[in-house]
């Protein structure tokens, strides 16, 4: 299964575009999500990532500093990035 890349701007429009892609990728194996290029992120994408982590085989997210920062602000680091916590 390929990696799903997050766009630079993870705003609500991005969440709308990502959702079907993520739904299509749900399976037994974790979804690979590449967030290394993310520079901006909002609640819509954060909660979508949480959902992806909790669906099917979970998700592995590669984070950019901006994504980590947003996760720190919202108390979501372990929810989003800890291994084996899906």
């Amino acid at each position: 299964m390929g990696t799903i890349s997050l766009p630079v701007r993870c705003d609500r429009a991005a969440a709308e575009a990502l959702w079907p892609e993520l739904v299509g990728a749900v399976g037994n194996a974790p979804i690979e999500i590449d967030g290394s290029g993310v520079e901006h992120v909002g609640q819509a994408v954060l909660q979508l990532l949480v959902s992806a982590r909790r669906s099917g085989g979970g998700a592995r997210i590669e984070a950019s500093p901006a994504l980590l920062q947003a996760a720190a602000l919202t108390g979501l680091q372990s929810e989003l990035f800890e291994e084996g916590d899906a």
């Binding site: 705003d11 609500r12 079907p20 749900v26 992120v41 609640q43 909660q47 949480v50 720190a72 108390g75």
Partner: protein, 747 residues
């Protein structure tokens, strides 16, 4: 989207905010002083302030800041809502409107020093009486919108509001330094803030994370993020807000300081405060539900769902709230109970207001283009009917279906342009306040039917005549307080505005409870000005209509209120230009009502298609009273020139349409043709003689003045089904022109 365009949106939103604030304050004055109303006013002023800051309108921002601070005191209950305060707030709002105007036009900011002092006085003066005197006045709110917003907009073309979001997101990552990691307990004493942004908090460029950042900047630390409500991907709805947070806020930060951050989005973020409270429940917003395909597996990966289309309601019962009793592992505080235990039971309890305002902004040009095309469609449809008629094709069922569809399309297109007349009526309180200041007459306003809709162009052009009529009503109609008391009336006058739809037209009435028209004075003045002859015998209605005569003004001294060079004749002309009519109903001692009958639209109208010689002409249906074929003796000669038609005992002049417009009329005597009785503004009723009546149908109005030149007696032209051009008769102009004033109806 260019910064100018964004700025334009800001000013449109300013207008909306001003109208909302005006409505809120009016409600306060009427006795509705609940939290929602006051909050609404606060939010309106606050959003103007936010935009003013973003676009660098310093004067506007500084002024709104003072205004907002006072409103904040009102909202907190620190300042009591009393009539003098509402008056002050209304005056402050008027000046705010002037500020916005100055910002938009690039003019000088209005002199607001006095008002600012007054507002500050109202804050300080009441501080001692405050029920919660311990709470300090709220400190200036940190502006969430940065001044560089317009510059950061390249890249986005369509989504107006996303733009702000991008700039704001830039901000979020650029400026954010988390003060301490969330795992650490905050230093010193703290209190707890629980919040859950709802769907609306993520719409329109709002971003909950920005508010969290503001909270963090005040020293707030995230204790817990509730992820228990986030559903699995297959039942996930991008438009909803699923996350909730508990933040620890240092005791040094007041609650209102924090609440100020969330004021901007109002009810779209549920907030609870205190260690015994918990994160508010999820409330799914059905209206916000994204319309992604119901079966997500087949949805195109690159086809983002439309965020604002609410056509498909959220299948609530089919949306399992996953793992409802699985609180996140990061719960360091035992005081925060898991919120998952109570699923979203209150989804229906949310006020309907959230879903009500689904709208988009459309470039007016696109809309006008659509209306134009619909006009062409109406013509093409008429052409088709005529062509098929010519070759005797019997397809009446299909044709009538096509006709009814065309009419439906036309009505829908018109309804897109339609706006509630409230946008005109909402300016009236301001006019009355200004008038109260200059004339000393206090007038109570009653408004009915403000939701009545009519065409945007009509609304825009209605403002001026309406303003003049209102000024006139207050200046000339409503008496001075002492005269009113002497007449046994309440010292405060009442002005009633109403609007309603009546048989395809809109009827707007402006009535006062003043002295009524003094007909003696009006007649004397008209004779003095040579408008009518000294021995003219005029009916009461005709005397009333004299005030529309050019050059007429009865005020003994020309006041600067209504006597500013624009007479009632101009008002009538304005109304006439809009295809409307104005009539007066006046009762001495009881008051005067001006009644405007306006078309719903300027583009398409109903008319009677008539034949005059070899010409086809259109008589707008709005003027037509009846049509008849006169019998023997119904028409009497009056002198050598004029013929009068006897309609049930009333004689009205007959005008031969053909001879007036230079077309040879086949019917030379009324008995040979058809008489159409029409009603006019200035000359009462008249009967137009035509050869025969062809049809009655819709016609698309094309301006003669734009495409050719203005022609007396002709209001415009239209294209007939066979492609020929037919002239639209300007009934008012034609009758007035054909009849010398002494020969008009009652002569």
């Amino acid at each position: 989207m260019s910064p100018e365009e964004i700025q334009q949106i800001f000013f449109v939103e300013c207008e909306e905010s001003l109208a909302a604030a005006e409505a809120g304050l009016a409600a306060c004055r009427a006795g509705t002083q609940d939290t929602d109303t006051v909050n609404g006013v606060f939010r309106a002023v606050h959003s103007i302030k936010g935009g003013a800051g973003a676009f660098g309108y310093g004067a506007l921002q500084a002024y709104t800041h003072t205004f907002e601070t006072l409103l904040s005191d009102v909202r907190e209950g620190l300042v009591e809502i009393a009539p003098p305060l509402i008056d002050l707030l209304l005056r402050a709002l008027d000046t705010l409107a002037d500020h916005v105007e100055a910002a938009r036009e690039g003019g000088d900011a209005p002199d607001d020093a006095g008002l600012i002092t007054e507002m500050e006085g109202a804050m300080a003066a009441n501080a001692g009486n405050a029920p919660q005197s311990a709470a300090p006045a709220p400190s200036p709110v940190e502006e969430p919108v940065q001044a560089d917003a317009p510059e950061a907009t390249e890249g986005d073309d369509e989504e107006d509001l996303e733009i702000d979001l991008d700039a704001l997101l830039d901000d979020l990552t650029a400026d954010f330094d988390a003060p301490g990691s969330p795992a650490e307990a905050p230093q010193g004493a703290s209190w707890q803030l629980h919040l859950r942004p709802r769907a609306g908090a993520m719409r329109n460029g709002n971003e909950p994370l920005l508010m969290l950042r503001d909270v963090a900047e005040l020293g707030g630390t995230c204790l817990h993020c509730d992820v228990g409500q986030v559903p699995q991907l297959d039942s996930f709805d991008v438009a909803q807000g699923y996350l909730g947070w508990t933040f620890a806020i240092p005791d040094t930060v007041t609650e209102e300081r924090v609440r100020d951050i969330f004021d901007f989005i109002g009810d779209d973020c549920a907030i609870a405060v205190g260690a015994d409270e918990r994160i508010p429940d999820v409330e799914l917003d059905e209206a916000a539900t994204s319309t992604a395909a119901p079966s997500p597996a087949v949805a195109a990966p690159n086809g983002p769902a439309q965020p604002h289309d609410a056509a498909i309601p959220a299948p609530d019962e089919a949306r399992p709230l996953q793992s409802v009793d699985a609180p996140s592992p990061v719960v360091p505080d035992a005081n925060t109970p898991p919120t998952g235990g109570k699923p979203a039971a209150a989804a229906g309890a949310q006020p309907a207001s959230q879903g009500a305002g689904q709208s988009i902004r459309i470039d007016l040009y696109k809309l006008d283009r659509l209306i134009d095309l619909v006009g062409e469609l109406v013509i093409a449809q008429a052409m088709l009917v005529q062509r098929l008629d010519g070759v005797h094709v019997n397809a009446s069922e299909e044709l009538s279906l096509l006709e009814s569809l065309t009419r439906d399309i036309q009505e829908s297109a018109m309804s897109i342009r339609a706006q509630p007349i409230a946008s005109v009526f909402s300016r009236v309180p301001r006019i009355l306040r200004d008038l109260a200041t200059s004339t000393g007459k206090h007038v109570r306003l009653e408004v009915h039917g403000e939701t009545t809709e009519l065409d945007k162009t009509v609304i825009e052009r209605l403002g001026e005549p309406l303003t003049h009529l209102i000024r006139n009503a207050v200046d000339h109609g409503i008496e001075k307080a002492e005269d009113r008391i002497a007449a046994g009336k309440s010292p405060e006058g009442t002005l009633t505005l109403s609007a309603e739809h009546r048989s395809g037209r809109i009827v707007i009435s402006i009535s006062d409870d003043g002295a009524g028209i003094n007909r003696k004075v009006v007649l004397a003045k008209a004779i003095e000005k040579g408008i009518v002859g000294p021995d003219a015998q005029l009916s009461a209605e005709e005397i009333d209509n004299l005030i529309f005569a050019p050059g007429f003004s009865t005020a003994a001294q020309i006041s600067n209120i209504s006597g500013r060079g624009v007479g009632m004749d101009v008002v009538r002309q304005n109304v006439k230009d809009l295809g409307g009519r104005i009539t007066i109903e006046s009762t001495p001692g009881k008051g005067t009502a001006f009644i405007l009958t306006m078309p719903l639209t300027l583009a398409i109208s109903d008319g009677m298609i008539v034949n005059v010689g070899d010409q086809t002409m259109v008589v707008p249906l709005a003027h037509v009273v009846e049509s008849l074929r006169p019998g023997e003796g119904d028409v009497k000669g009056l002198g050598s020139q004029r013929q009068m038609l006897n309609v049930r005992g009333q004689f009205i002049p007959v005008i031969t349409l053909g001879s007036e417009l230079g077309a040879a009329c086949n019917a030379t005597t009324p008995e040979e043709g058809v008489l159409i009785v029409v009603d006019t503004e200035s000359a009462g009723q008249a009967a137009l003689l035509v050869d025969d009546i062809q049809d009655q149908r819709q016609f698309v109005i094309k301006s003669l003045a734009t495409n050719f030149r203005p022609v007396e007696g002709v209001a415009g032209a239209t294209i007939l089904g066979d492609g020929r051009v037919a002239l639209i008769v300007d009934v008012d102009g034609l009758v007035a022109c054909a009849l010398p004033s002494h020969e008009r109806q009652a002569a």
